[in-house]
């Protein structure tokens, strides 16, 4: 109990949000509110072809019919969002075309430096190609040329609409249909940018592809759209990491990510999400409503989601796999940490359609402060999925007695040859473990960080090297002040 007394004391001294700063850049933004004109404005800003505008308008009209269908089933409480109070487009002041990094606005580059991603250094040293999204428009893409030589297409999706319309038309909305859900439909109407990746047949993408998202303009909802296609026999690992500046008003974020893995292809998608969670009184913070879904369309294909969710005031996110191809594999590894007044309702869906499809779900939820942390997941085995297999493990850790940890799995099995297993536990940090660490000279904070990192190890070790290091630090930072 000594730990929880210290916890209570330390909760009050939550460290200021490390990445809380606002960059002052004159921005080019659409008028407030959402209407068909705004959709046309966004499309015009992007010089989009007619089919793209049609697609957006169809989504917008569908969205209007969904007004009563804003999801209310999640264990999340937030004031009703007025969608007419947001701005749907904001772009950093545009220069005509950039030939090199030297032409990028130095203020932007400075921002990245604060975020720990100096582009030049990364380009030279890390071998990671970075497609940085600042607010809604991509400003710099590195390593593009090298990847291009191998046939990899890695560019902003707005560019892909111009340069590879046939791919975008074929795959956009094929995993997350326009009318999928309230937030995805909204995204389909107003998405401003995001990444597009195509890996050609048989290629193992030689480097981790990475994008940093950052919400910067006040009152700007961000609506990224990501589309990744791994053609037959290819492999790609994609990293997504986020930090955002501190501010008072809640910001809406509704992204859509679609992954398509064809025969024998594999996509590994890793996320570290560390957006502004609001202050210790629950003021401010990002509202994060994300639809992420991957289709294992081909035989023997594999999609692996790994997420480390430590930020946002509200997280509504269920990265899912549709296992269509025979023998395809879906995996979901998640660490969700909530502190103070954060609320997270996150999990996955594994839809087994093909024969011998396998899925594995490992979810670790850690709640502290006055937060609420829910795992919500669906495993559905359809009648034709002979020999399908699912294993699910959800563990929750409670730190302090003012938070909540919930587990809501749905398991639907229609095939006798399929096997599903689900296990969930909820507990607190054991006094014994804590005592053991303290006795060896660690302070409580170090001890808790060590124990929690151990609790999450199974998930963190699936992250690519660059992220694993960052994620471990993040776990410790997120719990700073909450555990004494």
């Amino acid at each position: 109990m000594a730990a929880s007394t210290q916890t209570a004391a330390a909760v009050r001294e939550v460290e200021a949000y490390k990445y809380g700063f606002v960059t002052d850049i004159e921005s080019d933004r659409a008028p407030k509110g959402l209407s068909e004109d705004i959709v046309r404005f966004i499309s015009a800003k992007k010089n989009e072809p007619a089919w793209m505008l049609e697609w957006r308008l169809k989504a917008y009209r569908t969205w209007l019919t969904l007004a009563d269908d804003e999801p209310a089933w999640a264990k999340l409480h937030y004031p009703k969002i007025d969608y007419q109070e947001s701005y749907y487009y904001a772009a950093p002041k545009q220069k005509p075309k950039l030939n090199s990094l030297d032409e990028v606005d130095p203020q932007l580059l400075e921002t990245y430096k604060k975020l720990g991603i100096p582009l030049q250094e990364q380009q030279i040293l890390s071998g990671v190609a970075v497609d940085a999204v600042f607010d809604s428009v991509s400003v710099a893409t590195t390593y593009k040329k090298k990847l291009q030589e191998m046939g990899v297409i890695f560019c902003p999706i707005s560019e892909a609409v111009q340069t590879h319309p046939e791919l975008v038309q074929k795959y956009l909305g094929s995993v997350v249909p326009v009318a999928d859900n309230f937030f995805a439909t909204l995204n389909s109407a107003v998405f401003t940018d995001g990444s597009f990746v195509y890996i050609p047949k048989g290629l193992r993408c030689p480097m981790e592809l990475s994008t940093y998202f950052r919400i910067n303009e006040k009152n700007t909802g961000q609506f990224e759209r990501t589309l990744i296609i791994a053609d037959e026999g290819s492999y790609v690992s994609y990293l997504e990491g986020c930090t955002a500046p501190q501010r008072d008003e809640n910001q809406l974020h509704a992204a859509v990510v679609e992954l398509i893995a064809l025969d024998d292809a594999e996509i590994k998608y890793s996320t570290v999400q560390n957006w502004y969670p609001g202050d210790k009184d629950g003021k401010g913070g990002i509202y994060n409503f994300v639809t992420k879904r991957g289709a294992c369309r081909g035989k023997n294909s594999k999609i692996m989601w790994t997420q480390v969710e430590t930020g946002s005031a509200i997280t509504w996110k269920y990265p899912s796999c549709i296992l269509q191809g025979d023998n395809s594999v879906g995996e979901f590894y998640s660490v969700a940490i909530t502190n103070n007044h954060q609320q997270a309702d996150t999990g996955t869906k594994m839809i087994h359609l093909g024969k011998n499809t396998r899925s594995k779900i490992i979810s670790k939820g850690i709640s502290a402060g006055k937060s609420s942390n829910t795992y919500r997941g669906l495993v559905r085995i359809q009648g034709k999925a002979d020999g399908a297999r699912n294993y699910t493990q959800c563990d929750s850790l409670l730190i302090g007695h003012t938070c909540g940890a919930h587990t809501v799995p749905y398991i639907e099995n229609r095939n006798p040859t399929a096997q599903t297993e689900h296990e969930a536990t909820t507990s607190k940090i054991s006094e014994d473990q804590l005592f053991y660490c303290l006795q060896r000279g660690m302070n409580t904070e170090e001890a808790v960080s060590l124990i929690v990192n151990g609790f999450c190890k199974e998930v963190l070790q699936t992250l690519p090297m660059e992220f694993a290091v960052e994620a471990q630090k993040l776990v410790a930072i997120s719990l700073e002040g909450s555990v004494g």
Partner: protein, 440 residues
């Protein structure tokens, strides 16, 4: 959450008018309960697929059946207890036909000193104040649409009350469903109240007679005072066309204990919802069950255990076998309130497929607000493990014998938790009888 499954329902004004004046209507609080319930029912209708709690068991099809109130069907004459009803050694038998106590088929109700058994209807008319502490207070109509339906039309049922430190007895309640020329519905309201330190065993057999469809919609409110101990064993084997939706709500005071077992063997659509609120420290709740389904049967076992105070324990073990085109559902929620430190709550559900065609849906749920607790749930579905079969066959058993042994053993793990050995034997026979009939 708002029930969005708006559906037209057959229990409207015509149904009420046919029923006429309900017992106890002269008392404002009873009439109030009925009016509130009717308001809830008319506002939200019967639950549809968008109602989260009824997602896997939507009741849309009920709106197509023109149910009449059972009390108005005059062509029903049940003269004997159906042959399928087991005999429980040493138990006092009470028989209800369509939710109404049938004294001719029952043992004398006042046979045991310290144990009061009355018809709900009579008590409602004669001394409603006896019911006031329990009625509508343990099973509230608010979030329970079927309990609201029951409250709107409750007319009869059974009330069982014990004296303090009542030393124990076994009651066997046989509930017979029987329809005449028209499909009918009945909504019995039962109350079981155990005083401090009392002990009681209740066995319930719900059975149906073949014929028209009927809907049995019982609500049972159970109150256990300090140190009271109730064992309740329920089996449901309704007619193939019958509907059975039972809601049981239990309020447990300090150091009381509630052991329940639910055996689901049939009916077109059956839902057994059991809710226990651990309101006193040190209460213990054990909810186990077995379901065995075939043809197009639908069976839903929904449990909610709410730990409100420290040092509570709860455990659940539910096993199911599914055959034919049947649909098994298990939903179990464990809620641990902020103050319920040192809670130990466990839950396990396993379902076994006997053929290709059935569906099993489960939703085990943990809702935890206290940190110093041990909570775990598990759920698994699949067919028989081939290695287990191989093990037995390698020892000389033929495939069918090996399979039968494994399936029986699978279910027996749950049946074996029944602490009353007479009841355990009877339930075990029922399960084995079912397996034999299915040729397992």
């Amino acid at each position: 959450m708002v029930a969005t499954g708006l559906l037209d329902h057959p229990f409207k004004e015509g149904y009420a008018a046919r029923l006429g004046a309900l017992p106890g209507a002269a008392h404002a609080w009873i009439d109030g309960l009925r009016q509130t319930a009717r308001g809830i029912l008319n506002a939200s209708g019967l639950p549809g697929p968008k109602n989260e709690a009824w997602k896997f068991t939507p009741l849309g099809e009920l709106s197509k059946i023109p149910f009449i109130p059972a009390a108005t069907a005059d062509d029903i004459d049940v003269r004997e207890v159906p042959r399928g009803v087991p005999s429980i050694p040493g138990a006092q038998r009470v028989v209800l036909v369509n939710g109404v106590v049938n004294t001719a088929l029952s043992d004398p109700l006042d046979a045991l000193p310290g144990l009061r058994i009355e018809s709900f209807k009579q008590l409602l008319v004669r001394e409603p104040q006896t019911l006031k502490p329990f009625l509508g207070g343990i099973a509230s109509s608010g979030a329970l649409p079927l309990a609201a339906l029951n409250a709107a039309y409750m007319a009869d049922g059974l009330v069982i009350m014990t004296a303090k430190n009542f030393a124990g007895a076994t009651l066997h309640i046989v509930s017979i469903g029987a329809a005449g020329a028209e499909p009918l519905a009945f909504h019995p309201r039962n109350i079981i109240a155990l005083e401090t330190g009392a002990r009681l065993t209740v066995v319930e057999t719900h059975i149906g007679l073949p014929g028209q469809s009927y809907l049995a919609n019982p609500v049972t409110e159970i109150s256990l005072a300090d140190n009271a101990s109730l064992r309740r064993y329920v089996s449901v084997a309704e007619d193939a066309d019958a509907f059975h939706f039972a809601t049981t709500s239990v309020a447990l005071a300090a150091h009381s204990s509630f052991e329940t077992f639910h055996l689901g063997l049939g009916g077109a659509k059956v839902r057994q919802e059991v809710r226990a609120a651990l309101n006193g420290a040190g209460a213990d709740c054990c909810m186990n069950g077995v379901y065995a389904l075939t043809a197009k049967q639908h069976h839903d076992l929904t449990t909610v255990v709410e730990h409100h105070v420290p040092h509570g324990t709860s455990s659940q073990l539910v096993k199911g076998v599914v055959d034919g085109q049947s649909h098994g559902v298990f939903q179990g929620r464990i809620h641990v309130a902020r103050d319920a430190q040192k809670t130990d709550a466990r839950q396990l559900h396993k379902a076994l497929f006997l053929s290709k065609g059935p569906e099993v849906d489960c939703k085990p749920e943990l809702e935890i607000f206290a940190d110093d607790v041990q909570c775990a749930h598990g759920a698994a579905t699949g067919e028989l493990d081939r290695e287990h079969l191989f093990y037995l066959m390698a020892r000389g058993l033929d495939r069918d014998t090996a399979r039968a042994l494994l399936v029986a053993g699978f279910l027996d793990e749950a049946v074996a938790t029944i602490s009353d050995e007479n009841v355990r034997a009877v339930f075990s026979d029922m399960v084995n009888g079912w397996l034999k009939r299915r040729g397992v």
